[in-house]
Amino acid sequence: MTYAFRAEGLTKRFGTTQALDSIELAAEHGTVLGVLGPNGAGKTTAVRILATLLQADSGRAQVNGYDVTRDAAKVRRSIGLTGQYASVDEDLTGTQNLVLIGQLLNLRSAAARARAAELLEWFDLTDAAGRMAKTYSGGMRRRLDLAASLVGRPAVVFLDEPTTGLDPAKREDMWGVVRQLVDDGSTVLLTTQYLDEADALADEISVIDHGRVIAHDTPDGLKRVIGGQRIRVRPSDLGRLDEVRAILGQIAGASPEESARHQLTVPVDDESALAATVDRLTESGISVTELSFHLPSLDEVFMSLTGRPTETTKEAA
């Protein structure tokens, strides 16, 4: 089996923080690996080591067949990196940003300009091409940053939380880009804090926490462990909470969990449960302030896998 990238036993410590604790990540050519984890899990550190920006304390990593330390130059020829924070040059226009990257990748001027125009068009930035990047919205900057990482048609693309902070429509756009990259033969490492994103895009998902992989599976395999879709209901009249609990219990065959905000959540097998829930609530004349059908949140994933919430929610609580 040949991997497009593979990290074995990577360890990295910053002072007293063990950012990576013998992490294993790998993806075959032409696939998407989703790396799912809360803030501080070590996602960015892992990406930076794979992208040759940072040296691991121990362990090995290969990208496109090249060792990230010994063959860093060849690795850099094979990759595109879109960091968590956009690294576009704000004083340059969209076109100037991309042409510069093209020139640094040894494209002739004409080829660099053509490639820039092509990418700007793809990312819907043609109208803004001549404007300085500092006038761009957050979403536009993200897109320009992503475009910049694709100038050299990289074999392996690292996307570090590409949709964090984007509104839902922009997220879907970004998902389309990732699918297109894979269609064109690239391998993608995508870090995210959202299970639904990993589920939508990844062939395999590594769930990481404290610098270790705590679960690795296909999206379906992972959902078998943590439960798939969930239904969540909050009745307008909290007096009817018990009735809702009974209805959900019957439909799902499991007893719902109640949150502090009196939301009742229950895992269900498939979408038909949603219609059934709506029907039963209507029949009983129960109106709701919230009714949702969703994949588990990161917190719920961590609850299922580790029996405890993520660090970030503990701090927030």
Partner: protein, 276 residues
């Protein structure tokens, strides 16, 4: 964003493609491309040029008219002849500060992460930024000389010597600025770069022959001033623009330039590589 397949289909093969140049001489080419980036930024924020435009003008006027009378026993014109190369030397040293500040800002903003993930030589971004600074030093020289001529400085030599003064000033500036590049790599914030560099450059430029003859200083201080690289640059420029011997100062200046490069280029490159 439309997901039409504009993205390449032939894609991903690392072999040479149409429109691609060979690796030959690529470091210089990359450095020039990156220098162009710096120049575009300068062009967009002309206020960042005050240290090479307004500053020398103000220094020349201030020193000539405020201190000139006292220092040169009443002859402001005589003092101007002495002062102009001095202000040039001081502002050359100060003009390098902005470079370290800008590089530090670029790193903090993550712009350099992109460069570091590209298959270019590690030194290219630093060399590119230094190359772009040539333009600032040229402006600086023209501003100094222009202001001087307007308020009564007169060249005691010939145009060729003035050109030589320009050449040595810019070349010295390009060597001296690597101190700033290095500090820009090791300091945590751009404010710190500015602070550290001021602490270094201000004493260095005053403990020199830039504003007063070193013979008027206590002897221990004069000894320091006499080896100061800025003194030798100023001495060389005086010789070339006002008249007088040049050779010894020129040799000292060239020697200092070599030392600055040999010490601070490796330091800066190493600090750059280490900075995550």
């Amino acid at each position: 964003m439309t997901a039409t397949a504009v993205h390449p289909t032939e894609s991903t093969q690392p072999t040479s493609r149409a429109g691609e140049l060979t690796d030959e001489g690529s470091t210089l080419r990359h450095a020039i491309a990156l220098a162009k980036r710096s120049l575009i930024k300068t062009w967009r924020t002309p206020e960042a040029l005050v240290d090479v435009t307004l500053q020398p003008v103000i220094f020349i006027l201030m020193f000539t008219y405020i201190f000139g009378g006292a220092i040169a026993g009443g002859s402001q014109h005589e003092y101007l002849q002495f002062l102009l190369p001095g202000v040039l030397g001081q502002t050359v040293a100060m003009a390098g500060i902005a470079l370290g500040v800008n590089l530090n800002t670029d790193i903090e903003k993550g712009v350099f992460d992109r460069f570091r993930s590209l298959p270019i030589s590690r030194s290219a971004p630093l060399v590119g930024a230094v190359l772009a600074d040539v333009v600032r030093y040229l402006i600086l020289f023209v501003m100094c000389l222009g202001t001087g001529l307007i308020v009564g400085f007169h060249v005691g030599t010939n145009p060729l010597a003035v050109l030589a003064a320009l050449g040595i000033s810019v070349a010295f500036a390009l060597c001296f600025c690597w101190i700033s590049v290095w500090v820009g790599m090791i300091a945590r914030t751009s404010g710190a770069v500015q602070g550290i560099m001021f602490l270094l450059v201000l004493p260095l430029s005053f403990v020199s022959n830039a504003f007063v003859p070193t013979a008027t200083m206590p002897s221990w201080l004069a000894q320091v001033a006499d080896v100061n690289p800025i003194s030798h640059l100023v001495g060389t420029v005086r010789g070339l623009m006002v008249g007088g011997p040049v050779a010894s100062n020129l040799l000292w200046t060239l020697g200092w330039m070599a030392v600055l490069l040999l010490v601070f280029v490796p330091l800066a490159l190493r600090a750059y590589r280490r900075r995550a």
